[in-house]
């Protein structure tokens, strides 16, 4: 049975399991769902967008809770209130677009997103098949499998946060999610192969910038930032004109929570021609609680537009879109929710936040 058939089967199993879950005692369902959420949170629950949405759900304000109850409730509440006063009508008009966007809050289908991403995995598999002596091709496939697995976890968490009824389905979604676990052993074997081939290559040619870069990413993938950073820096020194190793260096800083260094490295990457740096900068700005949500979204849009597909393909390998899709949706949606919440209060933010003027400047220069 192919993966797509199994995904279909998983969806069917999930539906049946959901029916069974509904028949159970409510407290038992809640316990089961809560346990599942706890497990998922240990994987991806520290991400800013998730924490932000979760906090908003806990503040108890009418607007925040309205947001989290879904677009239909928001629309009804806001527009009913908006109709009562001139000021209300103004607020309603200004937030109409935002609320309609919130209407697309990520009621994300883990199955359909996984299907999109799997197309990319297949493409990377074909690429590796063409040259199994290339360590970078092993690395690309391993990274893709990891992204796929994380996206599944994010999708389930997102459902749990944004649609309480999804709690009933979370236990059922375990079936879908478990598909991502199949890739773990393969991922480790791929990384091992990348490591061995890279060690061999570096023993023959210690200054090979591409191999130094692959080594950095292998260490990043196995969660060893110290070695990852050492090799990323060596890769930068080996190819100082290439921005790609700086992207990896930025990823390492960000994985360690060093936002300032991460931004600096991502900016350098962009300056040296690797526009993947803009993708990292866009991620950073979306999660910056010190910047107004509206400014965040505007700057995010400017930065995202500067990303060039050929740079993405050169960095992540030949694959179709789909990786890290859910995380990106979550971050963007959280900013939209914040923007909506902020729109209920007077906001005067007409300039770019000072901290990001340089980032925006780079992006604008690229347009000229």
């Amino acid at each position: 049975m192919g993966i797509f058939d199994r995904l279909k089967a998983a969806a069917s199993v999930a539906a049946n399991a959901a029916k069974e879950a509904v028949g159970e005692q409510t407290d038992a369902i809640q316990r089961r769902a809560g346990k599942e959420v706890d497990d998922l949170e240990s994987h991806v629950g520290e991400e800013g967008w998730y924490q932000g949405i979760k906090r908003a759900g806990g503040v108890g304000g009418e607007v925040a809770s309205g947001v989290l109850q879904g677009a239909a409730n928001i629309g009804r509440t806001i527009f009913e209130e908006a109709g009562r006063t001139e000021l209300g009508r103004g607020i309603g008009a200004s937030t109409r677009e935002v609320t309609s966007t919130i209407g697309t809050l990520p009621i994300v289908s883990a199955v359909s997103d996984a299907r999109r991403a799997l197309h990319g995995v297949d493409a990377l598999g074909d690429h590796l098949r063409e040259d199994p002596s290339d360590p970078e091709r092993f690395l690309w496939l391993a990274e893709a499998l990891e992204a796929l697995s994380q996206d599944r976890d994010r999708a389930v968490l997102m459902r749990a946060l944004l649609n309480p009824t999804a709690l009933l389905k979370i236990a059922a979604l375990r079936t879908t999610r478990s598909l991502g676990r199949e890739g773990e052993d393969a991922r480790r074997r791929l990384l091992k192969s990348a490591f061995v081939l890279t060690v061999r290559g570096l023993q023959a040619c210690p200054t090979d910038a591409r191999l130094l870069h692959v080594m950095a990413r292998v260490y990043l993938a196995v969660d060893d930032p110290r070695e990852a950073m050492r090799f990323a820096k060596l890769a930068v020194l080996a190819a100082p004109e290439d921005g790609a190793p700086l992207v990896t260096l930025a990823r390492i800083y960000l994985s360690m929570g060093q936002r300032h260094n991460g931004r600096q490295a991502a900016r350098l990457a962009a300056e040296r021609g690797c526009t993947v740096g803009f993708a990292l900068l866009a991620d950073v700005v979306l999660e910056d609680a010190g910047v107004e949500p509206l400014e965040r979204l505007k700057l995010h849009g400017v930065l995202i537009e500067r990303i060039e597909e050929h740079d993405m393909l050169a960095y992540y390998g030949p694959r179709s879109q789909g990786f890290a899709l859910v995380g990106a949706v979550g971050r963007a949606q959280w900013s939209k929710i914040e923007q909506f919440l902020a729109s209920q209060q007077p906001v005067a933010a007409e300039e770019w936040p000072v901290a990001y003027e340089d980032d925006a400047g780079i992006a604008r220069e690229g347009e000229e």
């Binding site: 297949d122 393969a186 210690p206 292998v218 196995v222 050492r230 300032h260 350098l268």
Partner: protein
């Protein structure tokens, strides 16, 4: 298709690679000639040595360095002097 992909059995060199992997020590020297004396990291400029040897603080001096000025010879010395951790070695 992805089922076959994840088996990885289609990779002819994988068993051989796995054999190599099993014999890799927990630390792997990148020095190509085992009889050669590895260059000392002490020979590297202090700033470079510092940048490569430790996790940075929030402001990493490495980012402000002139990367092109380091040169291939120093880079070769830095890499050949490395003994790297094998992340897949049994604990």
């Amino acid at each position: 298709m992805i089922d076959d992909l994840l088996d990885l059995d289609w990779l002819p060199d994988l068993d051989q690679l796995a054999g190599v992997m099993d014999n890799l020590p927990p630390q792997v020297d990148l020095q190509p000639d085992p009889d050669a004396v590895p260059p000392a990291m002490d020979d590297l400029p202090a700033a470079l040595s510092d940048a490569l040897g430790a996790l940075p603080e929030e402001d990493d001096d490495f980012l402000g360095m002139d990367h092109a000025a380091v040169g291939a010879e120093l880079l070769r010395a830095a890499v050949e002097g490395l003994s790297v951790r094998n992340p897949f070695a049994p604990v």
